[in-house]
Symmetry: C2
Subunit: 337 residues, 2 copies
DNA sequence: TTGAAAGCGCTAACAC
DNA sequence: GTGTTAGCGCTTTCAA
């Protein structure tokens, strides 16, 4: 069923039908009603392509997700999607499995499909690729890690600060030697946290023991393996992991080695996954405002799409501590959730 | 940059340019090379809408997801996406938050955008709505719960069998009174499991105690609350939950009430979430082949899209037991992962 | 092997 | 207030 048939059935021209869809106020109430009735009866839906060909807009955005099975990423995506839906947009979610090539591939697919804007989560793209997208005139907003020098709009959390605060807390509770499990990704974020770690130690007059800083894959398994490695040489008072997943693995490894958490070794994570207050012991961690990150990013994107320029193009969110049992803080156990 | 400009730059007509894109074999090698060079130089990308207007194909499928934060659903989606990507398709993922209205809304958006096919996960749509989609001539494949009588293609797991097997196992290990936490959704699946539960009890000469069958929201919190309720009246030997989430809540509630799992009460879940072998005690559960479900569904969908009719339109997958510590089975602890 | 031109379904400028 | 018509960028038939 196309516009021509509707026009004929209503006894008007295609232009008038088009008008009731796009500028209803310019057509006489009577004819309008008639046309509307016919459209409803025929369950008429304007052809998407034809409309796109004229408007060059799709009411569609794309969001690139590093890994679909990480609920944190999905929470961010949820925030984006919520805003998009409110605006009448639909969202292409692209799972790139942390693969640079897949990411580029998906982005070009999105551009081909003429999305009105793109949100990149923890993108692995470098300056050059970003510039390339930019040249396509598609608005882009970055969430999380990106190159320091990028001029793109972005929403990030202050990881340095978050990690620093947590390290300070561990020191305060009495831990002296603190291991650092540094996840392989998001790289930039992990680096920031490491800086926070070093800063706080230095400020407390302690020296970071380089043997206690281990790189690891960002996963439960990675945490398990690197913890085994860490404790093989020396048992720290506490371990800070750059993600909750790594922390889960660390706890598992310690248990398997016969150590008690937090009595023998305290553990702190980063992210506050949904499961983190369910595992035993409940995990002390840094809570990241995932959903909010998505919401902010989406808002910026839509401002960009609507042609408004934003001054606050780079948003930095502050994380929040979640003190639970795993770090051995006895007094504040009331804040367990 | 459009086809006209390419044509001019290459000194040919638009028809010839179009030919090198769609039927390259019909154009002389020399002219073809020339045109290809020009296209490459100009980084020419054919207009999506114009192509769509002619072909009426989008190389796009839609997948409706009940809830993005459930990793099980995302695993299914991952399977679908993988197949889609291999086929050069891109996937619209729609998060409907278990809301019937949102689901319908999204589906109509998908149809408007002329997706080539749709996969519905645990859809709440009834016969009538499905028929409506069908009338739009968009191929549809269902994953999981749907109306018994539906004729649509589908991929499901045999929940009755899975639950039955687990109940049989609990009996075998020596448990006699078994509580049943029946999640509110997916409804059909939970019902199937309840049937499995009743059947096995009956076959063993036991009678299902109706007080031990509790409906609950399908969430950690739901499991917590209903377990508290359940044990307030009578403490069963074991509890079977229709999802791992519910089981997590159950474990938490038992611990909070001073009971030991599995010594005082054994627990078994359903789904085998990623976290289930991390919590304490590791959860005995029924493993569902999520990714495979997605893959199968996608394959059927593409067969449908390609116009092949499939005889095996209704696939029923068998789940698999994961015996871990939470059900108190001492001997088979080797199978812990 | 190539080009001219009609047409896909819609929008909007222009004329009445 | 409404109709006529030229495009949007591409594909494809028909002729050459």
């Amino acid at each position: 069923m196309n516009i021509k048939q509707i026009a004929k059935a209503a006894g008007v021209s295609v232009a008038t039908v088009s008008r009731v869809m796009n500028h209803p106020e310019t057509v006489a109430p009577k004819t309008r009603e008639k046309i509307e009735r016919v459209m409803k009866e025929a369950e008429y839906k304007p052809n998407w392509f034809a409309q796109g060909l004229n408007f060059n807009k799709t009411k569609t955005i794309g969001i690139v997700i590093p890994h679909m099975l990480h609920s944190s990423y999905m929470e961010i995506a949820g925030g984006v999607e919520e805003v998009a839906r409110m605006k009448g947009y639909i969202t292409f979610m692209c799972n790139v499995e942390k693969d640079k090539k897949m990411e580029r591939e998906y982005i070009s697919q999105l551009i081909m499909r003429r999305v009105d804007g793109i949100i990149l989560m923890f993108s692995s793209l470098d300056e050059q690729h970003l510039a390339q997208i930019d040249s396509e005139k598609v608005p882009v907003v970055l969430i999380g890690e990106n190159q320091e020098n990028s001029k793109a709009c972005s929403v990030k959390v202050d990881c340095r600060d978050g990690a620093g605060e947590m390290i300070a807390h561990l020191l305060e509770v009495g831990h002296r030697s603190i291991g650092f499990l540094c996840g392989s990704d998001p790289q930039q974020e992990a680096k920031e946290m490491l800086t926070g770690y070093r800063n706080i130690l230095k400020a407390s007059g302690l020296k970071a023991d380089e043997d206690m800083i281990l790189r690891t894959e960002n996963s439960i398994e990675g945490g398990y393996i690197s913890t085994k490695k860490l404790i093989a040489t020396k048992l720290p008072d506490a371990i800070f992991a750059t993600s909750d997943e790594i922390a889960y693995g660390a706890i598992d490894a310690l248990k398997d080695s016969g150590y008690k958490v937090p009595d023998d070794v305290a553990i702190a994570g980063f992210g506050n996954n949904r499961m983190s207050n369910l595992i035993e012991p409940k995990l002390t961690t840094v809570e990241l405002p995932f959903r909010k990150m998505g919401i902010y990013a989406a808002r910026i994107l839509f401002d960009l799409i609507d042609g408004e320029s934003r001054d606050d193009k780079q948003i930095l969110l502050r994380p929040r501590m979640r003190i639970r049992k795993s770090c051995g803080h006895k007094e504040r156990i009331g804040e367990m959730f």
